[in-house]
Symmetry: C2
DNA sequence: AAATAAATTTAGGCAAACCTAAACTTTTAT
DNA sequence: ATAAAAGTTTAGGTTTGCCTAAATTTATTT
């Protein structure tokens, strides 16, 4: 398998290239990885020898198909662990990253399969970013703002656009979190607020202010 | 902090020394760590410089108090992850070790605190070995063989002394696993079998053969 | 278009953690 | 008690992944 350092380079290339599309420069990598450009050149030569990247000196680097596959696997692991940390261990968003960064390098197919199952096959991580499938497919699902749903329509919370503690606490109290199943029960035309049922067992009326900050994907 | 390699040495010394009591030889370490004796000498010099071990050349090595503290922390992490893997992700005993071996090196105090909480502060791992407390205390709880309990007495299963599949399957079928709450309901003097209630919701009669293979700690 | 600036690579080193081979202690056997 | 055997350490090497400094290539100015 690949070393932790190699995995971090691949992940960084994936992110900086926007999903493997564009070429990435040595300095860009050195900045996100917090190493010197010389070290990056070094590693790119190695990754190239392993056919994980296409590397053209002085020009830039891109992931090969194999490189992309590896990148998506790491991202899948990272995001599944983030879901675990937030949903099961009640980590806050800012506490999550540092730990997931370590867990993503644990090697075990079985572990990830089972974790995925345990978490109920989540499709997005706590930041609302999509989780690649076991087959390595990452489809960015269409996200709609909650205020745009009509009566009767359903959605799964995938992103919240305000990370102020007061707002997060409010959502917490109401019982809304990433992954919650919502359905619009009724619309109050007077002020555009909506009555929303949460996970089929309770309902609240959300002001249009709040509705604008919550995003959902299709169930 | 300490590197993964250092942590593995410390853990190995702890185990081979029987909890830090006796001195450990270079070859013993080289065997459990699957490295050459020369590499062990190398590392012992380093650990000694960090005051994690008392190292006397040609004689052997022992953990310092600090070394023991570190060892217990690692063991705590390892065992908590084992509980997680078995209880939550349904790993079998033999699948557990390799993965826990990796997870135990993830660095985060918060992670372990929360994991412990999430698992309900378990006191033993799936093999029945005790889990060191957050303060680093490992109290070897008194283990009694199930056959020694009197009527009305309770115990929590902490160890099973027969790992033949047939026996484990039998226990599984009956509903006994590590952590099960047992209570002696009745004693049948004729053949020393006992009627045992399991987790307060069912009861079985166990032969003295079986009773001899199950160990419990106080609830 | 030449000169300067910026980015990148190469060369040579370092620390960690391993290795083999040789030297040294300790133990065991004669 | 001494020689052989066993165990341990030291010396010198390797690989990985990082570093600095110098050389090289590409981009930007004038």
């Amino acid at each position: 398998m690949h070393s932790t350092a190699e995995e971090n380079y691949i992940k960084a290339i994936y992110k900086l290239s926007g999903g493997g599309a564009n070429a990435v420069s040595t300095t860009a990598l050195s900045e996100t990885l917090e190493t010197k450009p010389a070290s990056v050149s070094d590693m790119l030569r190695k990754l190239s020898a392993k056919d994980l990247v296409h590397y053209v000196k002085y020009y830039g680097v891109q992931l090969t198909e194999e490189g992309k596959r590896v990148a998506l696997k790491i991202i899948r692991k990272h995001r599944l662990w983030e879901v675990f940390l937030v949903q099961k261990l009640h980590f806050t968003w800012d506490e999550v990253h540092e730990v997931a960064e370590q867990m993503e390098h644990v090697k075990s197919e079985l572990l990830i399969q089972r974790l995925d199952e345990f978490l109920g096959h989540p499709r997005v991580d706590p930041h609302g970013d999509p989780i690649p499938s076991e087959a390595g497919e990452l489809r960015q699902e269409e996200q709609r703002v909650l205020s745009s749903l009509a009566v009767e329509q359903k959605g799964v919370v995938c992103r919240v656009k305000d990370s102020q503690p007061a707002f997060l606490q409010y959502l917490n109290k109401v019982g809304i979190q990433i992954g919650s199943q919502l359905q619009v029960v009724d619309k109050i035309p007077y002020d555009n607020s909506l009555e929303i049922s949460i996970d089929k067992n309770r309902s609240v009326i959300l002001s249009s202010d709040v509705l604008e900050k919550i995003f959902v994907i299709n169930p």
